[in-house]
Symmetry: C2
Subunit: 346 residues, 2 copies
């Protein structure tokens, strides 16, 4: 497996990326890395580690794309940036199977859309981050923001992509798939979601269990939430914001009384565990599904731990031949998708 790693644009760039790649070499003896960034800086950083130099190559592309760059402009004007160079190499070099980046999400999406082939039958790629559930598992959300205007047939594509990802990366055999809606009843929601429910119910090969409400995101009832990118994004951010604000409030309140501080001291380890449980760094990032190559977007604030998790995700998708399985699933479901697409004015 050859992974190209975009070193720039993240909060801890480039060092978290460099260390994460070097540390992953031992874990995955079948893997090689191409590091794209400021070559001199990368080489100097690499000198502090002992590893097989044949397994890491460096590419010089010192320009970074940041969150301040407008994606559509970044794609055109920053062609030699580390991200766009990595995307171009991913496209051109048949030996490179995966890209990992902790750079700007919008630009990664825009660059990928422009250069990397989609899987046949997939209208547009979708982001699928995972969150920890309170029952100790994970739940994926596909799409979580790459597609704000969608067609009903895309729900089926998201379900197929997400199911195969959850299976490949988290070893869940028959992921329970639910459609994000404003109620669990079949007739809930707007026309898009009503049609989506109908299509998902009729799609062979996925384990569709019905509509879900956002309040059940973290309960562990579902392994994959299928959502339009707009409401999927809002559900995730609302959950993340609430968890963060609530823990901050508890922390503030503890400091109000000596008695609370004493209690909290006894519970210190537990609170650390809760914090760790919700630390998104442990869950890597969001994969972009639906392209012929593997693309993993690490959090902008990714640390070494997070980078290694991203590499693990790319590796899992690769060794489980995820995209081959997606192709098979699309073939199985092709009647459902085709029938719907014919009615959609695409």
């Amino acid at each position: 497996l050859k992974i190209i790693f975009d070193l720039l644009g993240g909060d801890n760039s480039p060092f978290a990326g460099i260390e994460g790649c070097v540390k992953s070499l031992d874990r995955y003896p079948d893997t090689e890395f191409i590091l794209v960034g400021d070559e001199a800086q990368t080489e100097t950083a690499l000198e502090q580690y002992t590893f097989d130099r044949n397994r890491i190559t460096t590419i010089h592309a010192p320009e970074a794309i940041t969150g301040n760059d407008k994606p559509t402009e970044a794609v055109r004007t920053k062609k030699d940036s580390s991200m766009m160079t990595a995307i171009r190499m991913l496209k051109d070099d048949g030996d490179i199977s995966a890209l990992v980046s902790t750079g700007a999400t919008g630009s990664l999406m825009a660059g990928t859309m422009l250069r990397i082939k989609r899987i046949k039958g997939i209208r547009r790629p979708a982001f699928c981050p995972v969150l920890p559930t309170m029952s100790g598992g994970v739940v994926g959300v596909c799409d979580s923001g790459a597609n704000v205007d969608i067609l009903p047939s895309q729900f089926v594509q998201f379900a197929i992509l997400g199911s195969n990802y959850i299976r490949a990366a988290y070893g869940i055999d028959d992921p329970k798939v639910a459609l994000l809606n404003i109620g669990t009843e079949e007739e809930k929601g707007d026309e898009l979601h009503k049609k989506g429910y109908e299509l998902l119910s009729n799609t062979p090969g996925i384990n569709f269990v019905g509509n879900m409400e956002a309040r059940d995101l973290l309960t562990g009832k579902y392994d994959l939430v299928v959502a339009d990118g707009f409401s999927g994004n809002i559900m995730i951010k609302s959950a993340e914001g609430t968890a963060l604000e609530l823990l901050k409030k508890i922390k503030r309140d503890i400091n109000k009384k000596v008695k609370y501080k004493m209690g909290a001291a006894l519970m210190y380890k537990m609170f650390m565990e809760e914090k760790e449980f919700m630390n998104y760094q442990n869950y890597g990032g969001s994969v972009l599904l639906g392209t012929e190559k593997i693309i993993v977007k690490g959090h902008g604030s990714a640390d070494v731990n997070c980078v290694m998790k991203c590499i693990e995700l790319a590796h899992s998708m690769y060794i489980h031949n995820m995209n081959d399985k997606v192709n098979e699933a699309l073939e199985t479901a092709k009647e459902t998708i085709k029938e719907s697409e014919e009615k959609e004015d695409v």
Copy 2:
């Protein structure tokens, strides 16, 4: 102020409603209640309280509408139910200014849409629940689920309705209004939200501060979130679900070690305060805005405390002449709304 109270359909019906009304008599000497439900049962329950009998009348309509009734059918087939009777009386009796119900939301919405006049210039009523913020205030969300398919001009209507409600019910002079979107930048979101941003920016008389992300719902940065009903609903349920699941997890984890239990014992009062802080019963329920009469929908599980909060909300809207102020605001913003509506294919 004459309030008609639908006693049936809630988890604690009819007794929470009866007690809540009786207890509110002292607080609001200007207020009278009409209680709709099983008259014999209501009269028997009322006998245990001492109060001015001239200020409470009872109406016999013993049939309840539940969450299992399909709203469109309930409106037609359960015309004599307590809810539909209350709605009819609210419509016909000019002296009755407000309706409070803890019954089924969908049916209340359907019945209201059919019978109660909308404020001129408002396309459809909208629900506006409030949530507690971590800075100790509240934030309203309008709409939170009454409208799943909306037109851009409705964002302006929601902003006007919500701002005036937050001002009347919570005493916030110049509520900061944000549009729920998937990013804070102006150009974020689908066409609907881009157009909504533009309209809100150009609406005189509201304090529009821009797009917001769902992660900032509880931070206290905003007093009112304007949202399409679909994503507003998802944001709220995701926040509620996360808070609930997180507290449940903490509770479970405390029980794992004696040390944690000891710590938690010291922090008992604090945990109770957190629980109370997030107890939605303290925040009453969701008002339905945009109708000529005041309509408050209490939580299905409303207790006496929650019922009294609902009555307080109705009373505040009444004494602050909220709807007059909405009319003035609609007049001020009429050019913005008109211009947009002309382009919308209504």
